[in-house]
């Protein structure tokens, strides 16, 4: 009995040593690949940045209006953005290659799928970027309109516009990469519907006075409004 237990333990220990012996070199290789990948990505990022600076990409972007869009979305310059994208794409590639060295069962297939998803992933990133720019633009337009018209809580109004556009962009991006497609659509429908219903109820019940004032402002007291502000021109 004792001998059997000892044998089993010894065998388990041997197996563990064998596994570690097999896994450790692969893990070290993976770490080495990731570190080398980081260095390669960093070098490529710097090379890309230098080339783009030499080609005056920022100036071209400025003339085409792309730099303005990035600036308005609080993003770095076009050169910086492309350089960072190169860094992350290269490093992500090395990380995935490194993980594949571990030869974990099922992982290879997942990595192939991730590589297959890359084009959709890039499109999804583009959708998110456009969503970010649109959300910034329209929420700022809403904020300016609300402030200049003297509406109460302009920040809430602006935030709601930003939120709805963001939800829309995220849903579209998720649908693009096929990740939880049904869930994303359902979540968007529920969130959007809930927001609209909430706003309608809030406006109808909580904001009856505001609704009355708004309607009066547009249809009832136009002359008074004009008298309240001196004629600008």
């Amino acid at each position: 009995m004792r001998e059997t237990m000892l044998r089993a333990l010894t065998q388990a220990y041997d197996n563990l040593l064998h596994m570690i012996g097999e896994f450790l070199p692969r893990f070290i290789v993976m770490v080495a690949i990731i570190i080398v990948g980081w260095l390669v990505a960093l070098i490529l990022k710097r090379i890309t940045r230098s080339i783009l600076r030499l080609t005056n990409l920022d100036r071209l972007g400025e003339e085409a209006g792309a730099s303005g869009v990035l600036r308005k979305a609080a993003l770095p310059s076009l050169t910086e953005l492309v350089s960072r994208a190169v860094f992350w794409l290269v490093w992500l590639g090395f990380i995935l290659i490194g993980i594949s060295v571990l030869e974990i069962s099922g992982m290879q297939e997942q990595i192939s799928r991730i590589f297959g998803l890359l084009p959709q992933f890039l499109v999804a990133l583009l959708i998110l970027f456009i969503g970010l720019v649109a959300a910034n633009f329209f929420s700022r337009a809403a904020l300016l309109g609300a402030v200049n018209s003297g509406y109460p809580s302009p920040q809430v109004f602006s935030g709601a516009v930003r939120f709805v556009i963001w939800i829309l962009a995220i849903s579209m991006a998720l649908e693009q990469i096929g990740l939880a497609r049904e869930t994303a659509i359902a979540a968007f429908s529920i969130v959007f519907g809930a927001v609209m219903l909430g706003l309608a109820i809030a406006f109808g019940l909580g904001g009856r006075d505001l609704a009355r004032l708004t309607l009066e402002k547009y249809f009832g007291e136009k002359k008074k409004e004009k008298e309240d502000e001196p004629m600008p021109l």
């Binding site: 308005k72 300016l144 402030v147 004009k226 001196p230 600008p232 021109l233």
Partner: protein, 409 residues
């Protein structure tokens, strides 16, 4: 209709102005018969798709008595031409149509008259045409008598800034009524900016600044009392139109104004400025509230547009309990920093202009508090002080303009 060549042209851009156009045309023609009995004259109507028979009413309006006050009969035929340039109104297209007519007819002097004013004084058209026709001025800006607190955007922003930057003391560069020579019409017609949104929406201001920056002879001519019209734009729309056009012109004409210092007095026919004693009712409390709400609501945007020191000073004013004075030097700095931010593309241009509205309200609140009991002369002194301050700070604008970075340090 064959018109041949004419001496004088009066342009009217219309869109659903059936109520006023008949009286307007009769008044203009009676005035022209009295003032220019020997000249060949045409009235050109550019219509933007009216659905109320504006064009028909204009063409059918009864002609004036052909005898003038001295009993002399006009020797000339007065023509009326009405054309539809599009099915929707476009001020740029309307002006371009009128300019093209002026060039085609080899007109010596032209006047643009607003169709809003159904009964302009007879002298208005003469005052706009005569300096261009007889004294050979290329651009004739109008001058009006206004209610004391009307035209504050012009008094606090448009006039001081355009005077400081472009170097000509013309009060109403932004007016929709003005006179011009055939030479200026041809010059403007040959420009390649007619597709620009700003020029399509507010071409008069661009044309006036083109006259100033193009070295054309400019003058001012007093017209009379400027009344309120039903379609006067509200404050936000007025600022978007006029300040947007002014900043756009700064951008396009920077080569011209960068080299200029000080400002020149331009010849003026009639009184230089007139203020009617009546005052309109103004809700100062609302102005103050909207200024304060704007400062807090747009803090992030204003932070990206204004220099830190300038914005801190404005915030300090907004926090004061018992009203405040928005001083001329701070207002000049505010405007110049906005103009430079427009140039550097810190924000979408339209958003940037809209962000100026709360600050303008603060300035107007301060102006109204300061001039509640002021006489016209005192108000005029205040305006002159602001103009001088803007001229003094013009190097600051140039410095910001030339810097590669945005306004913020």
């Amino acid at each position: 209709m064959s018109v041949g060549e004419v001496d004088l042209l009066v342009g009217i851009a219309t869109h659903n102005h059936a109520k006023t156009i008949g009286n307007l045309v009769r008044t203009i023609e009676e005035c022209l018969v009295q003032s220019f009995p020997r000249e060949r004259i045409v009235i050109v109507n550019a219509d933007g798709g009216s659905r109320d028979d504006t064009q028909g009413i204009l063409l059918r309006a009864a002609p004036p008595e052909s005898k003038n006050a001295r009993g002399l009969t006009s020797l000339r035929t007065m023509h009326r031409i009405s054309t539809r340039y599009a099915n929707a109104p476009s001020p740029g297209l309307a002006l371009r149509t009128i300019l093209a007519s002026a060039e085609l007819l080899r007109t010596k002097a032209c006047a643009i008259v607003s169709p809003e004013n159904s009964q302009p004084a007879c002298g208005w058209v003469t005052s706009l045409l005569r300096p261009a026709f007889q004294d050979h001025f290329d651009f004739v800006a109008p001058l009006y008598t206004r209610n004391k607190f009307d035209g504050l955007l012009a008094r606090n922003l448009l006039y001081p800034m355009s005077r400081a930057v472009f170097g000509q003391r013309i009060r109403e560069l932004h007016s929709g009524e003005f006179g011009f020579s055939g030479r200026l019409a041809s010059h403007c017609l040959s420009q390649t900016v007619w597709h620009e949104e700003v020029v399509r929406a507010w071409p008069e201001y661009w044309m006036a600044i083109s006259a100033v920056s193009g070295g054309f002879r400019c003058c001012q001519s007093y017209l009379g009392v400027k009344g309120r019209t039903e379609t006067s734009p509200d404050l936000v729309a007025a600022i978007r139109q006029t300040v947007g056009t002014l900043f756009w012109c700064l951008e396009k004409q920077s080569d011209f104004w960068m080299d200029r210092a000080d400002s020149e007095i331009v010849p003026t026919f009639g009184p230089d400025h007139e203020l009617a004693p009546t005052t309109s009712r103004v809700n100062r409390k609302k102005l103050l509230e909207m200024f304060r709400d704007g400062i807090s609501g747009l803090e992030q945007i204003l932070n990206s547009v204004l220099h830190a020191g300038t914005f801190a000073e404005i915030k300090r004013l907004a926090a004061l309990n018992d009203g405040f004075d928005y001083p001329d030097d701070l207002w000049a700095r505010t405007l110049y920093e906005f103009a430079a931010s427009y140039h550097h593309g810190v924000l979408n241009h339209d958003h940037l202009i809209q962000a100026l509205v709360p600050l303008y309200r603060g300035r107007i609140y301060s102006f109204l508090m300061q001039h509640q009991e002021s006489s016209p002369e005192e108000m005029e002194t205040g305006t002159e002080h602001l103009c001088m301050e803007m001229e003094r700070q013009k190097p600051y604008l140039m410095e910001l303009w030339k810097s590669n970075s945005e306004v913020k340090p």
